[in-house]
């Protein structure tokens, strides 16, 4: 997949415009609306990357299957309601099929699970947080060639899930609930989300540790067998 630098520029410019409009036109402190708009804009370059891939039906269907598995994976642990392996599955997918694919699976599955549990003002924060956490984890792991070193994968995945997804998802609560953006009130809101984020990250780490190998092998086999998600080719 070729990266499209001009789209990044466009989305950065639009984000800047959103900040300026928020700062000057609306005058009051509009973190809530402006940040939501920026997060949606941040997904733009990735969405455009995928538009180019229309012809590759097999890859599209595999992305959609992995996203469906990520959402449905909760059902595998119907006896353990706190286990939500969505983030882990998106990370594994990205690990073997490329970080852009991982981003897409994370975003898509988060978006759809929001369809099931109700959309809200938190949707852009959760979507972007998930996509970005998966993307960063995959960039780190792929750059270091850490595939199949499952302990490293588990630790990096859990940290990204905790720090990036936790922060993004909670910043919605911060903008909504904190009366002002002083350090005290922000940390108060973030602290209330801490236990939840920690448990989510721990689950992500454990699931990554245990399934990285079996699921990864299957994804890799698919790539080799059908020549999918090959590097270096555009279009």
């Amino acid at each position: 997949m070729q990266r499209k630098p001009y789209l990044t520029v466009v989305s950065l410019t639009l984000s800047l415009a959103a900040v300026l409009v928020g700062a000057f036109l609306l005058r009051d402190r509009q973190y809530y609306l402006v940040s939501g708009v920026i997060l949606l804009l941040a997904c733009l370059p990735f969405a455009a990357l995928f538009r180019k891939r229309r012809g590759k039906v097999r890859e599209l269907v595999i992305v959609s299957v992995m996203a469906a598995i990520a959402v449905a994976s909760r059902a595998a642990f119907y006896m353990l309601p706190t286990v939500k392996p969505l983030c882990a599955i998106a990370i594994i997918t990205g690990l073997y099929l490329g970080e852009e694919t991982g981003f897409m699976v994370g975003v898509l599955s988060m978006f759809l699970s929001n369809f099931l549990f109700g959309q809200g003002a938190w949707t852009p924060y959760q979507i972007f947080g998930m996509g970005f956490a998966v993307f960063v984890a995959d960039v780190i792991l792929r750059a270091g060639r850490f595939q199949s070193r499952r302990l490293v994968c588990a630790v990096v995945g859990a940290l990204c899930c905790f720090a990036i997804y936790g922060l993004c998802a909670d910043s919605c609560a911060v903008f909504a609930m904190a009366p002002d953006l002083s350090w005290k009130s922000v940390s108060a809101v973030l602290l209330t989300g801490l236990p939840f984020n920690a448990s989510h990250a721990a689950v992500t780490g454990v699931v990554l540790f245990l399934t990285e190998k079996p699921i990864g092998e299957k994804l890799e086999r698919m790539c080799v067998k059908y020549q999918l998600f090959q590097k270096g080719e555009s279009e």
Binding site: L26, R53, V57, L60, S64, V71, A121, P214
Partner: protein, 288 residues
């Protein structure tokens, strides 16, 4: 509950919710907030009946109380001291009102999203965005279709596992094992699905989508009304009518004839779906 607004064109539904949610997130002014809250609450009750009342009183009002307590405990600006806490911090009227307004804003947006989820179903969402992002819309609808399939496969995997005596003990391991089986099964199927799509002509130019939504004259008229309402409110924002300051003292813009016109326009905008529903109900009952 059948709603005439929910039966109108998805683009109109989207335009309306985009307007009220954006305005709902922006206004700190108590009058605008109150109007929006009342409209979202009333329409939510109309759409979801008793469940809405339950959501509001059991979940949302306690949350609001929590936010107000948090605000009063952490913020000590303002000139009107109500009382002094044992550790010497002041609890002020301004900080309480400000937290109430902030919390009310979140509550209002939440209520609008409750209405949104009842009105804008997945097929409507795909109808609005499918043309602009065909690949994205395909991905979303395909994944939605895969969800029930995955759930059914998962059940069959569990049944088979139980049949060969692997069901008991080590629950996490069982779940992960089932997940791994599901991946194997579905990835092979995905390639078949893709080949089948291609051989049936996916991606050929000039194909159209089936739609069951039609743009009527009423949709056009209502969209124009919503846009006019948006324009009026934006004019109000530019004129500073929607500003509200809570620090150091509560200061609202002076009320003029324009502000009252603005209040009425905003109320008409927010109550539009409910008014439409009630008019349709009235017509229906009279024609019976």
């Amino acid at each position: 509950m059948r709603s005439a607004f929910a039966g109108s064109h998805p683009a109109l539904n989207f335009l309306f919710f985009a307007s009220v949610v954006a305005f709902g997130m922006v206004f700190f002014h108590p009058v605008f907030l109150g109007i929006s809250f009342a409209a979202a609450f009333a329409y939510g009750v109309r759409l979801r009946g008793r469940r809405m009342l339950k959501t509001v009183f059991c979940l949302l009002l306690p949350t609001l109380l929590f936010v107000v307590l948090l605000g009063a405990a952490f913020n000590h600006y303002g000139v009107t001291t109500l009382f002094v806490l044992p550790n010497g911090n002041r609890v002020t009227l301004e900080s309480i009102v400000h937290s109430l307004v902030t919390g009310g804003m979140v509550l209002t947006v939440f209520l609008w999203f409750v209405c949104y989820n009842a009105v804008v179903t997945t097929d409507k969402f795909l109808h609005v965005f499918g043309r602009a992002f065909p690949t994205g819309a395909l991905l979303v609808s395909m994944t939605l279709r895969f969800l029930p399939i995955m759930r059914r496969r998962m059940q069959r995997i569990f049944e088979a596992q139980r049949g060969i005596g692997r069901g008991e003990g080590g629950r996490l391991r069982n779940g992960l094992h089932a997940l791994s089986i599901l991946v194997t099964w579905s990835l092979e199927g995905a390639v078949d699905t893709a080949d089948s799509m291609k051989s049936r002509g996916y991606g050929i130019r000039g194909r159209t989508n089936y739609t069951r939504f039609f743009w009527t004259r009423r949709d056009a008229a209502l969209s124009v009304l919503v846009l006019l309402g948006d324009a009026l409110v934006i004019a109000g924002i530019v004129c500073g009518q929607t500003r509200a300051i809570y620090d150091p003292y509560i200061c609202l813009p002076a009320r003029t004839a324009f502000s009252y016109a603005l209040y009425i326009g905003y109320a008409l905008l927010c109550f539009m779906p409910l008014l439409l529903d009630l008019t349709e109900d009235y017509k229906w009952n009279r024609s019976r």
